[in-house]
Symmetry: C2
Subunit: 428 residues, 2 copies
C-alpha cells in the first residue's frame, strides 16, 4: 500500500495536482488497523495479562507488522501499558506489555441469591465500587430496582470516570432467552423483557446472561479454570447446574437448554422426588436443601427446622464425627462422582470446578470425588483432569458479568473502538 501511495504522490506532485488527502489519511489511519487485530490483541492481553510482543505474535497468529501497528495505536491511546523489559537468552531486551486495567469500566449486576448486587469493575473485572440490597426470594422483583442500582453506581463516578464506562453486564438466575427475556422463579419473573425495560432507563449497552454461564466466564478468565478451553463448572445450591467451555466455546445447546445436570436420573430407585416431578434426579439427592433434609430426617427432625440449617452445618457435623452426617455425605459424594464421571467421559474436560454451597466442604469431599472420577475413567483414556473448588466466592456473578461485558464489547465494533479511544474523547 505504501509503495502505491508514494508512487501516487510523486506522480501527483509531478503533474501539479493535489490528490484528495483525506481519503488517503483514512486508509492510512483507520483502515490499516483492523478491528480484528485490535480484538485479537486485546483479548490475548486480557487472557494472559503480561506478555511480550513475540508472545502476542505467537498466540494471535497475526503477522508481525499488523501486531506492531496495532500495539503502537493501543500504546498511544493508553489502552495498553509498557511495564518493563525482559532480558532474553540472546541478550536482546524484550518489552513486557499489559492491558491498562483502568482504560475502561463496566457496571455489573448480579440478581442471583438473596440480594441484588451491583459493582463498578475495571476492564479486567477488579471491583472498584459496590452496592447491595436485599430482596425477597419468590416475590416479583421490580425491574426499576435493577435500573436504580445501576444508576446509583454511575452517579458515584466522577466526570473523568463516567465517560470511561463501556457497558453494563448482568447475571440473571433462571433462564435467559436470547439475551433478552428472563424467567426466574426466585425473582417471580416469567419471560420478563428485562433487556428492553432496562434500555428505557439506561443509555449504555447492556448484556444479559444466565448465572451459570456467567460463572463459567468468571472461572475461565478470572478463576481456577485459568484460560482452559475445556472445563466444566458445576454449581450447588437449591439446584445443581453445569456450565463450561467445550473446545473454547461456551456450552449452550439447542435453545440454550444445555447443562441441566441436576436432572439426570442418577438413581431410579431413590425415594426422593425432584421438584421437576421425576424420580431419582441428581438434584433431588445432592442439592444443598436435599442433603440438609436427609440429614435432619435421619436425626428424626421434621422439615420445620429446614430454613435454619445449612449445608455447611452438615459438613461441620461430619467433621465432628457425626456418623449420620457422614453417611448422608457418603451418598452425596457417590451420586456426584457418578455424574461427574459421565461428564468427564463424554466431554473430556481438563478441569472440573465445583462451586456454590459445596466449597465449604472441600476437605471432606474433594479428595474422594477426585479419586472416584479417576477410577471411573478407563485406563486407556486416562489423562490429567483436575477437580477444583471455585475460589471466587460471592463475587463470581459480578466478576463474570464484567467478563461477559468485556468479551461482548470486543465483538461490537462500536464498543471496541470506544475502548481504544483516548479517555477524553469517549462518548463524544
Amino acid at each position: 500500500m505504501l509503495c502505491e501511495q508514494s508512487w501516487l504522490q510523486t506522480l501527483a506532485t509531478a503533474a501539479g495536482i493535489r490528490p484528495p488527502p483525506w481519503r488517503y489519511t483514512k486508509m492510512n489511519k483507520t483502515r490499516r488497523i483492523s478491528d480484528h487485530w485490535l480484538r485479537t490483541i486485546l483479548t490475548a492481553l486480557y487472557e494472559r495479562r503480561e506478555v511480550t510482543r513475540a508472545q502476542i505474535v505467537r498466540s494471535t497468529q497475526l503477522n508481525v507488522a499488523s501486531v506492531s501497528l496495532a500495539l503502537k495505536h493501543l500504546l498511544s491511546r493508553g489502552v495498553i501499558l509498557r511495564i518493563g523489559t525482559l532480558q532474553s537468552t540472546g541478550g536482546r531486551r524484550r518489552e513486557v506489555l499489559k492491558l491498562n486495567a483502568e482504560a475502561g469500566y463496566f457496571v455489573t449486576a448480579d440478581l442471583e441469591g438473596e440480594s441484588l448486587r451491583f459493582a463498578v469493575t475495571n476492564l479486567v473485572g477488579d471491583i472498584r465500587y459496590r452496592w447491595a440490597e436485599d430482596i425477597e426470594i419468590g416475590k416479583c422483583l421490580d425491574i426499576d430496582r435493577v435500573a436504580d442500582g445501576v444508576q446509583r453506581l454511575l452517579d458515584k463516578l466522577d466526570h473523568l470516570e463516567r465517560p470511561r464506562v463501556i457497558a453494563v453486564g448482568i447475571s440473571c438466575p433462571g433462564y435467559v432467552e436470547e439475551g433478552a427475556h428472563v424467567s426466574a422463579v426466585n425473582l417471580g419473573w416469567t419471560r420478563v423483557p428485562l433487556l428492553a425495560r432496562l434500555r428505557k432507563r439506561i443509555s449504555l449497552p447492556i448484556f444479559l446472561e444466565g448465572s451459570g454461564r456467567i460463572a463459567a466466564l468468571a472461572e475461565r478468565w478470572l478463576g481456577v479454570a485459568k484460560n482452559s478451553d475445556n472445563f466444566v463448572y458445576v454449581v450447588f445450591g437449591a439446584g445443581v447446574g453445569l456450565s463450561g467451555f467445550i473446545d473454547g466455546k461456551l456450552l449452550r445447546g439447542f435453545k440454550g437448554l444445555g447443562g441441566e445436570l441436576g436432572h439426570i436420573t442418577i438413581d431410579p430407585d431413590a425415594q426422593e422426588r425432584c421438584n421437576c416431578g421425576k424420580q431419582g434426579c441428581l438434584e433431588a439427592i445432592v442439592s444443598s436443601s436435599s442433603v440438609v433434609r436427609q440429614y435432619l430426617a435421619s436425626k428424626g427432625h421434621g422439615h420445620e427446622m429446614l430454613p435454619r440449617a445449612r449445608l455447611a452445618d452438615v459438613f461441620e457435623a461430619a467433621r465432628r464425627g457425626d456418623s449420620l452426617a457422614q453417611s448422608v455425605l457418603d451418598r452425596m459424594q457417590e451420586a456426584l462422582t457418578s455424574a461427574l464421571s459421565f461428564v468427564t467421559i463424554v466431554l473430556s474436560p481438563e478441569v472440573i470446578v465445583l462451586g456454590g454451597d459445596l466449597t465449604s466442604g472441600e476437605d471432606l469431599l474433594l479428595p474422594r470425588i477426585r479419586e472416584g472420577v479417576l477410577r471411573n475413567i478407563p485406563v486407556s483414556l486416562r489423562r490429567p483432569c483436575e477437580v477444583k473448588m471455585s475460589a471466587l466466592g460471592l463475587d463470581i456473578g459480578l466478576k463474570g458479568a464484567a467478563s461477559l461485558a468485556f468479551h461482548e464489547s470486543m465483538h461490537d465494533p462500536k464498543l471496541l473502538r470506544e475502548i481504544c479511544r483516548p479517555p477524553l474523547e469517549r462518548h463524544s
Copy 2:
C-alpha cells in the same frame, strides 16, 4: 477503491505516464475479493444447496456489495451456477444459485471396518468412482496400501479431471492425534505417523480425522442432522462412541478424548466386564457383540457361535417373536435410553442420530428410545429433540471424509483459491 483507481488512471493518462499495471490488476482482482467472503459464501452454498442472492446476504451477514462482487467472481469461474429464477411476491424475479458440484473433486479413504474403501467424490460428497479391498482385522496394515488405493483412483481420472482434485480426506478408526498420528487396534497401529508417511507418496494436501468425528461431519452436512448446530451421532458396533456438534462446533474435548460414551457406567451391578476393564460400562451391555453374546448365552450357546451371528440376527429373532431375543433387546434399549437421556439433558441436542449396526433394528428400537428419552426430560425443559437413524449406510466414512476435505480446504487460503480458479489454470 474504484474511485481512487479511476482518478489515478486519469492522472496517469494526463501525465503521459503508464502506471505499473500488474500491481493494480492484483489489487483489483485479488485483494478486493477477500478469502473471508469466498469462504463464507461457498460454505453457505454447500450447506443450503440452492439459494438466492438475498438468502446469501441474510445468512452470511456480508454486505450486499461484497456478496455481489464475490458471486460475480465465482460465477465467472464456474464455481457456482445459475439454475433458474424465482418469482418473488413483489413480482421481482430472483436468481437461484447453486455450487457447481463438479468444480472440484476429493479423493477419500475409509479405513474403518473390514475393508479399505476409497472414492473420488465431487465437491458436495457425491461418489464418482470407488474402490475397495479387504483387510485382516487386527493385523498391521501396510500404509503403502492406503497410498496405493489413493493413487489407483487418481490414475483413473482423465487429464481434465485430475487437475481438479483439491485434496485427500481420510477417515481413520481409533484415535487420531492432532490430525497426524493414528492408534487403532483394528489396523494394528500404535501412534503410526500416517500423515507424514502418506505425504511422501501423495503430492495432494491430506486431512485425517477419527471415524466418529468424520461420521458427525457426514451427518451434519449430508445426512439426517441437516445443518443442525446441536446434534449428537452415536455409533454402535464393536464399541459405542459419540460424536457431534455442540453450538456449531465439532465436539473434541481436552486431548481430543471427548465422546467415549461407551465407557460411562450405566449399571454398576452388571455382570459384564468391559474390554476397558471396568464393570457395567454402556458398551459392555449394548455393543453389537455384547448383545449377540447375551442372546446366545440365553439360548445356551457358547462363544463359539459368535463370529457367525450378527446383531441383525437378534433383531430378526425378536421380530419372529423369540422372547429371549426380545428380553435381551429390552435390556439394551433401557441402557441406551438412560445414556441418551443423560446426553440430552447435559448437551441439549436438537437431533440424536443413531448409526452403525443399530440401523437394522429401527422398527424395534426407535419408537421406544424416543419415548424413553422424552420421559426422562423434566416437563419444564422439554423441547423438540428428534431421535433418528442414520441413512448414510456404509458410505458414511467416504462422504464424511469428503466433507472434512471441503471444510479444511475452505480454511486453507491456497486450497480456497484453488477451488476458485478456472479448471484449466489449476495446479499450474
